[in-house]
């Protein structure tokens, strides 16, 4: 089943390249993968900490390299996110004027790569699948983008490639830091080795730093974030949806999957650094977001800012914060995909996303206005949407870390500042909504028409996902939390 979910998009992409009808094949493939992911979700065995649905093909016995896939709670959530956003993105893409086949193939390659990375238990393929997804991103922005697309494409690609190389260095060192009888590419085996204390504290410090910077660049951790707004502003809407919604989570997933369980000592050692950087994400980038004058850049920066909350969950190093981080990864992925989809559609119709030129669009496009409103309120953590569930767990988890009755320590202060970040995000999101959708309509936009019913389907799908997770976060928490129980002490 997992293999099917990974290879369905990839095979479909190859078929499309060969000449199959692009949109139909892509839609069929994404619907199938989504259905399969739902099936996995429904048939998931709760309370089991091991990976499920494991399949393995040995490639090199002496290196202990094998193509192993399987899912546990965390990867299941990520796979589900990937399939939902893929379906929405493919559906939203509509007809493309140039190289339609290549466009859809690129989308599916990103999707397949991301799913493969999430479902791989082998370090090598974990990395390789992510690289597979990076190349189509470059093409999508460079060929089908808007604005200064070529520069943006080069920037994101080189930036992320640097991140990947730092990450690769970290992964190689990680592989070598385990003594040779236990050395393996299998993440499960590495975890066992790590829990036996086979990785020295000194090695953990170095490797964790490399992984943090490598993954951090991929996730736009402050100060490595400037690729994001530019790339998302230039990318075509489906590419921005897939990258911001799904692929970016790879770095966070990596931290949760590798860095924390394998290198707990390293994580402890660099906590202060991570906290400072994530505050940069929340407060500093939040302020930068307020000053943005274009909707697409504003959304790009807001996505960067919300990464700070997920990092806070990871940094808090408790089961509660980590679970919150996982839920927020899902929620942020869906909500930012929704926002990018609508912003892209808006740009397609108006040709501009500068705030001063827009206004009052909810009057002429009520459905788009409603959906966008849902998106921004989800993003600023309105209860009822998944983001709130994630954020509240993160705040509680972080606040708990190192608590005393005498006064605030680093994590309490960080939580307070992060809570102020919620106010900041309210300010910029509501302002953007005010300037885009509320107020008087200028004459040039009076002729705009609302979204077609076909485009309403993916929007509804994304909103539905947000609401489901927001009303019943327990279904997600039940799946994710056991995955962390082994690696996070409950009370820290």
């Amino acid at each position: 089943m997992v293999l099917f979910i990974i290879f369905c998009p990839i095979v479909a992409a190859i078929l499309i390249m060969v000449g199959a009808p692009a949109r139909k094949t892509a839609l069929a493939a994404s619907v199938l993968t989504f259905a399969a992911a739902l099936f996995l979700f429904a048939s998931f065995k709760h309370g089991q900490r091991d990976f499920q649905h494991v399949t393995s093909f040995i490639i090199s016995p002496e290196w202990r390299l094998s193509f192993t896939t399987g899912i546990d709670g965390l990867s299941l959530i990520m796979v589900l996110l990937a399939t939902i956003v893929t379906l929405a993105a493919v559906w939203f893409a509509g007809s493309i004027h140039k190289y339609e086949n290549a466009f859809y193939a690129c989308l599916l390659f990103i999707s397949g790569g991301a799913i493969g990375a999430f479902a791989s238990i082998d370090l090598f393929f974990f990395y390789a699948f992510h690289e597979l997804a990076l190349i189509p991103t470059f093409l999508l922005i460079g060929i089908w983008g808007s604005g200064n697309r070529v520069a943006a494409a080069w920037k994101i690609t080189i930036y992320l490639a640097i991140g990947s190389f730092i990450l690769l260095l970290g992964l190689i060192l990680l592989y070598q830091s385990v003594p040779s009888p236990l050395r393996s590419f299998d993440i499960r085996a590495l975890t066992v080795a790590a829990s036996l204390g086979q990785i020295t504290a000194d090695a953990q410090h170095h490797i964790y730093l490399l992984l943090l910077i490598g993954f951090g660049i991929l996730v736009s951790l402050f100060p490595f974030h400037t690729w994001a707004p530019e790339a998302y502003a230039s990318a075509p809407a489906p590419a921005a949806m897939l990258h911001a919604g799904v692929l970016k989570n790879f770095g966070l997933y990596g931290l949760l999957r590798l860095a924390i369980p394998l290198l707990p000592e390293g994580a402890r050692h660099w906590t202060t650094l991570l906290v400072v950087l994530l505050l940069g994400n929340i407060i500093y980038v939040g302020l930068v977001t307020i000053a943005q004058k274009r909707l697409d850049r504003m959304l790009g920066y807001s996505s960067v800012m919300h990464m700070g909350y997920i990092f806070l969950g990871i940094a808090s190093a408790g089961i509660l914060g980590a679970t919150g981080a996982a839920v927020l990864m899902f929620a942020h992925g869906v909500s930012i995909a929704l926002l990018f989809a609508l912003a892209g559609e808006l740009r397609r119709r108006t040709g501009t996303l500068v705030f001063d030129e827009l206004g009052g669009l909810a009057r002429v496009m009520p459905f788009a206005g409603l959906a966008f409103g849902v998106g921004i309120f989800a993003a600023i953590g309105l209860p009822g949407f998944a983001n709130f569930a994630g954020e509240i767990m993160i705040f509680f988890g972080a606040f708990k870390n190192g608590w005393t009755m005498d006064g605030f320590r680093i994590f309490q202060i960080t939580t307070v500042l992060a809570l102020w970040g919620v106010v900041i995000s309210t300010v910029y999101m509501l302002r953007a909504y005010r300037k885009t959708f509320m107020g008087t309509v200028s004459d040039q936009w009076k002729q705009l028409v609302d979204l077609r019913p076909t485009l309403r389907v993916p929007v509804t799908l994304l909103v539905g996902a947000l609401l489901c997770c927001g009303f019943f976060p327990r279904a997600f928490v039940r799946i994710v939390a056991p995955a962390f129980r082994t690696h996070f002490t409950a009370n820290r």
């Binding site: 500093y284 930068v288 009057r363 953590g381 606040f399 309210t426 300010v427 976060p473």
Partner: protein, 598 residues
């Protein structure tokens, strides 16, 4: 049945909101009927629950990580919440019906009723919540529906700005509230009210901690109940449709802050310092809002400032450690303030959305029912016996008299001001000559709008009498009837009303000119100045830093650095054969040197 009943109260409005949003946005009649049926169902069930006090709510788990974090979804069903449920759904039902008339011609009626249903859901959720997180969730949802409803006419710039202002301002209060919740959770290990209450008394030795927690929790109420210094959003919120001003921004939502304070009284009352701060914040709000109200010209803004002032009274009562007095005033205020707003709405509609009181005049003959009911509400507001406001305000004044003389003095002065500005409004709006053509041609509102007025007028009259109110509330016990308090209150009342009548009878324009009050103590100006010099400035500096230092400097710099090194190295690779040979020779010599001689 008993365990489902409370959930029906809560969930029926949600279902209504969902159904309207998903299916019936096109049909205005269907949408409004669904919404009204839903609120009536809620109201009937609330009454049932009130009558049969054995009802208990089933409990669910919202988030559960065993041993780490449990968020139950359960209901509190004590007398307090049962009364509030009846009050909220009852006033809500009247306002739903009234809205049918008021919003008759509005194109966004379906959206309006969907939001109204969602509001009922959220407000009932606040009332029934049994833990802090659930309370906070509904708290935020109420803020959201308030945003939607203030911004109902989102294509008007003023409404859109007011909606943003309301949401952001209350969020600032919620910032403190959330920290308070986190601290309570850490200190007691629970978020459920019933479990926290006994544990918090065990923390008596940490008095500073308790003060901080109490004040942080109070922050939430400051935002939501529009207390000084976060009161600025409420007057602007009058940009929304008038029934919304009546329901949300007078009768229920803004009172949610007071309700919350009463609900978590065990936190607030654990610290004397915090109580004192709460009392003074309430007092300052009361007197400041009353002062501002004396110089406003928009009928809804006058009522908005009177709401602020009355909320100040309630918070004052909470700060004086009497929840009963606060709830009593909340109870009566809900009736008479909803009545006043609906009356104002009736006037506004009949005058084709004219809100300036100086354009009205002589309306007592043209809108008799509105006039009589409005007058009842006004008399209740100023605390004229035997209307309801007299009893509840008297309870608070007595309390202040007993416990804190300075506060009593200010409260009495506020009562004087209240009488003054309410009489000013009555005199200008209903008496004298009509000052504009629309005022001359106005007619009485249709029955669908006047019936709720009459019902509310009856309630506003009866609400204060002990034989009626004691069914719903624990009335504050007055230890010894200090006769001096009601006497002073009535003196203030007569002085205020008399002054207003003398000053404003037969006037065609404002005789007083107090710029400070007319500009609301320049709070808005001050805040925009503050925001400009802090947030906006920081944002600009950060954006500049991000653009030029991080992006162009560090990132672009490393890119240009790479290009630069490449350009330098290219200078060597010019294709000059002999230079290559020379470098090659040097290399050979170097290799020989290192290989042989080192």
């Amino acid at each position: 049945m008993n365990s489902i009943l409370p959930w029906i109260i809560l969930l029926v409005p949600l279902v209504s909101a969902a159904v309207i949003t998903l299916f019936t946005l096109r049909s205005k009649i269907l949408s409004s009927s669904i919404s009204i049926v839903a609120v009536l169902v809620s109201f009937v069930c609330s009454c049932l629950m009130f009558a049969f006090s054995t009802a208990t709510g089933a409990e669910f788990t919202w988030i559960g990580i065993s041993g780490v974090f449990q968020v139950p979804f359960g209901l509190t069903l004590d007398p307090l919440s049962r009364t509030m449920a009846v009050l909220v759904s009852g006033v809500g039902a009247l306002i739903h019906i009234y809205s049918l008339g008021y919003m008759r011609d509005d194109e966004g009626r379906s959206r309006y009723f969907a939001a109204l249903s969602l509001f009922m859901f959220a407000m009932l959720g606040i009332v029934l919540a049994n833990n802090f997180i659930m309370l906070f969730m509904f708290w935020e949802l109420v803020g959201f529906t308030s945003y939607v409803l203030i911004g109902h006419w989102f294509y008007r710039d003023a409404a859109a700005d007011a909606a943003n202002k309301a949401f952001i301002t209350t969020r600032i209060g919620d910032f403190g509230f959330m920290i308070g919740i986190l601290m309570v959770w850490m200190a007691t290990g629970s978020i459920v009210f019933a479990e926290i209450a006994p544990r918090i008394s065990g923390l008596a030795s940490h008095s500073t901690f308790l003060t901080v927690v109490a004040l942080l929790v109070f922050c939430g109420a400051v935002g939501k109940s529009a207390q000084f210094p976060l009161h600025v959003w409420l007057p602007d919120a009058m940009e929304g449709p008038t029934p919304i001003s009546a329901l949300i921004h007078a009768a229920t939502m803004v009172a949610a802050g007071v309700y919350m304070l009463v609900r978590v009284a065990f936190v607030i009352q654990s610290s004397q310092t915090a109580l004192l701060v709460v009392a003074w914040i309430g007092t300052i709000t009361a007197v400041m809002a009353a002062l501002v109200a004396t110089q406003q010209n928009d009928i809804k803004r006058i009522l908005a400032y009177s709401t602020l002032s009355q909320l100040g009274y309630m918070v004052m009562a909470v700060g004086l450690a009497s929840n009963d007095a606060a709830m009593f005033h909340l109870f009566t205020h809900a009736f008479f303030k909803a009545l006043l707003f609906l009356g104002a709405g009736s006037i506004i509609v009949m005058l084709h959305h004219e809100q300036n009181i100086w354009k009205m005049g002589g309306l007592s003959r043209r809108l008799p029912i509105t006039f009589v009911t409005f007058a009842v509400g006004a008399l209740a507001l100023i605390g004229c016996p035997p209307f309801s406001g007299f009893f509840s305000k008297d309870a608070i004044l007595t309390l202040a008299y007993e416990r804190n003389t300075p506060i009593f003095a200010v409260a009495l002065f506020t009562a004087f001001l209240t009488a003054f500005y309410v009489m000013r409004m009555l005199v200008i709006v209903f008496f004298g000559k009509p000052r504009s053509d629309i005022a001359r041609e106005s007619r009485e509102s249709p029955p669908i709008m006047t019936v709720p007025l009459i019902v509310l007028a009856l309630l506003a009259t009866l609400g204060g009498f002990a034989f009626f109110a004691k069914n719903f509330l624990t009335l504050p016990v007055e230890k010894e009837v200090a006769i001096v308090v009601p006497v002073l209150a009535i003196v203030a009342l007569i002085a205020g009303s008399g002054l207003a009548i003398v000053l404003y009878r037969g006037r065609a324009s404002e005789p007083l000119d107090l710029a400070l009050l007319r500009h609301k103590f320049y709070f808005d100006e001050f805040y925009s100045w503050l925001i400009y010099w802090t947030q906006e400035l920081l944002a600009c500096v950060s954006a500049f830093f991000d653009r030029w230092i991080i992006d162009a400097g560090a990132v672009g710099g490393s890119s240009r650095g790479t290009w630069g090194i490449g350009a330098l190295l290219r200078l060597v690779q010019v294709g000059n054969l002999q230079a290559y040979v020379f470098l090659f020779g040097l290399g050979v010599v170097a290799i020989i040197y290192f290989a042989v001689f080192r």
